[in-house]
Symmetry: C2
Subunit: 190 residues, 2 copies
């Protein structure tokens, strides 16, 4: 039996990503977001949604560039902090002790300690209501060599990304491998 | 040390969602997608990206409505199957034995057996390249009573959603609770 919860932003699962930008003076800032996802394969694009008052919003408008850094479980408290405080009031890199690294493909900083980074140039911005969606073309993906398997591809168990539960405002880790895509379904296909 | 993997659609984490639509004759269809995410809080909106050849693409254009059903781990093989076969060639509901249920808020079917469902009306469509992004306003969220905690909110351990690893085309379950959002970061904030 299903129960109606009304019109709300519930989804499973939400990612936890940290958006990196420079302001007009070249000062790096980061903020955490969960309203994000890949939105196109070619060109490869990622979408992140921000509210106008966010410091990052103005920075993306100014520089037309941003990075998406993926925190591992080890950086849960920093990732949460980056979503709690505005870059207008705090130097989040200084407070956290993490390292801003200038992207090689775009004019935006990423977090050196995080295992996976997307460098993006702004392609589109769409006004949706409370949030503006920024679509960035992914010009490069950088990963820590430590998260690569022997086949040169990242391994989930090494990246150890974080999932956000918006129903309860909680963070979860990744669990067990359930199956291979485009394979598990053959049992249904017959 | 970071290694460059080039321009590609890598992100952690991707959701696994199943998009439900009717065709012009009222026949229900579903397809699985990972290029999806919440994109606005008010109005509450979810974005799903589809390629033009998809049967679902034409259905959304036609009906201006879709649902997003979230599979639990129990329906991994069905969710994978729904991404392997086109609704132009197969009756995926018949093949899987799952139940199409007409939405109460929109003219689109959801999967009765899946624990969480979003009913959406088409607000925007954006041409991004290989993919078109459809932004749906979430008019209602329905959840199985069995996934609700005693406080009336869904519990992650009961929903048991699936995460997609695009680097290896694999599915994962959810792991352990890591911490509370807007709380864990206080350790940094001081």
């Amino acid at each position: 039996m299903k129960q109606s919860l009304g019109a709300r932003t519930l989804l499973y699962t939400h990612p936890v990503v940290v958006i990196g930008t420079y302001d007009r003076d070249g000062k790096p800032n980061v903020m955490t977001a969960a309203w994000a996802g890949i939105c196109c394969s070619s060109p490869p694009c990622v979408a992140v949604s921000l509210q106008k008052p966010r410091h990052t919003y103005g920075n993306i408008r100014e520089t037309k560039a941003f990075t998406v850094s993926i925190p591992s479980e080890d950086y849960l408290k920093e990732a949460d902090y980056f979503g709690m405080v505005s870059g207008k009031e705090a130097d989040k890199f200084a407070a956290s002790g993490l390292t801003p690294v200038k992207g090689t493909a775009v004019n935006a900083p990423y977090i050196g300690e995080f295992p996976v980074v997307l460098e993006c140039t702004l392609l589109h911005s769409f006004e949706l209501g409370l949030h503006t969606q920024f679509v960035g073309e992914i010009l490069d993906v950088k990963v820590d060599e430590a998260v690569l398997g022997t086949d040169g591809r990242p391994e989930m168990a090494r990246v150890r990304p974080i999932v956000y539960d918006s129903a309860r405002q909680e963070y979860y880790g990744i669990g067990r491998l359930l199956g291979k895509a485009f394979s598990a379904g053959r049992a249904v296909k017959g």
